[in-house]
């Protein structure tokens, strides 16, 4: 009788140990894989945001460059929402700031616009500098 109980216990142990080890190993694998998936998702989101920032800066740069003379609109802060369409400051997920620097030359005006994309917490995403020459300070075109 005692021998039978010992055999049962030994059998249960030899069955449970590999199962527990396997479950632990599987849980560890799942943890590592989940971490890698989360990092990949974060990386993809970062790339998407950077790509959108590049595109938004480029759009704004072309708007600034197409103007024949400096405008007050050039200096505003623009907010963009989740689909990177213009949004209110409350709904924005990123914003563009545009700084303007005017330098007089012998025959006209050099207008330098620095367009910077930021996340809502103020971190810089991308920056683009656009220089355009305005003959006669843009007066002729205006």
């Amino acid at each position: 009788m005692a021998d039978s109980t010992e055999n049962n216990s030994s059998y249960r142990l030899s069955f449970m140990v590999p199962v527990v080890l396997f479950v632990l190993f599987f849980a560890a694998c799942c943890g590592v894989i989940a971490t890698v998936f989360l990092r990949a998702a974060a990386e993809t989101e970062r790339a998407e945001q950077y790509s959108a920032a590049v595109q938004l800066c480029r759009n704004q740069a072309e708007i600034c460059r197409s103007r024949a003379f400096p405008e007050a609109d050039d200096l505003q802060t623009l907010y963009f929402g989740t689909d990177f369409a213009p949004a209110s400051p409350e709904d924005g997920i990123c914003y563009l700031t545009i700084a303007q620097e005017l330098t007089e030359t012998e025959s006209g005006l050099l207008c330098k616009n620095t367009i910077t994309a930021h996340t809502m917490d103020g971190a810089e995403l991308y920056c683009l500098e656009v220089l355009r020459y305005l003959p006669d300070g843009g007066e002729a075109a205006a």
Binding site: F37, T105, E129, V130
Partner: protein, 128 residues
């Protein structure tokens, strides 16, 4: 004496296969994410290089305009042929070619061409 052995059943084998598949998928996902990030980074850098080159072009234009209006010195790397004034600006792997047609104090931009520099690989023949 009863032999002790590991009891690995079909469920364990199935779970192992699932774990391996998930590992492969997560590796592929990570590689795609890294590739996307690198690609957008490269595009951003390329755009900055293009705008740097364009900015140099605008600076050149201002100097040429000053030359036409006030007689100031022409910028370096400027070629004058009759009434045409041209230059080639190379910066950050981008080449900007500008050609102006001058008439008195005014000018007309005939060409403003910005392109990426590249070298043809002709050391080997494709059809042989």
């Amino acid at each position: 004496m009863k032999e002790k052995r590991f009891h690995i059943g079909s469920v364990a084998v199935l779970f192992s296969v699932v774990a391996v598949c998930m590992a492969i998928f997560c590796t592929l996902t990570m590689m795609t994410a890294i590739s996307d990030a690198k690609s957008s980074q490269r595009y951003g850098e390329h755009l900055q290089a293009v705008y740097r080159c364009e900015n140099l072009g605008q600076l050149w234009l201002s100097q040429v305009d000053a030359h036409l209006k006030t007689g100031a010195a022409l910028p370096e790397n400027t070629v004058v042929e009759g009434s045409t004034i041209r230059t080639e600006i190379i910066s950050g792997g981008i080449r900007l070619e500008i050609l102006l047609e001058a008439s008195g104090e005014d000018y007309t931009i005939r060409r403003w061409s910005c392109a990426t520099l590249w070298e043809s690989e002709d050391s080997w023949s494709l059809w042989q």
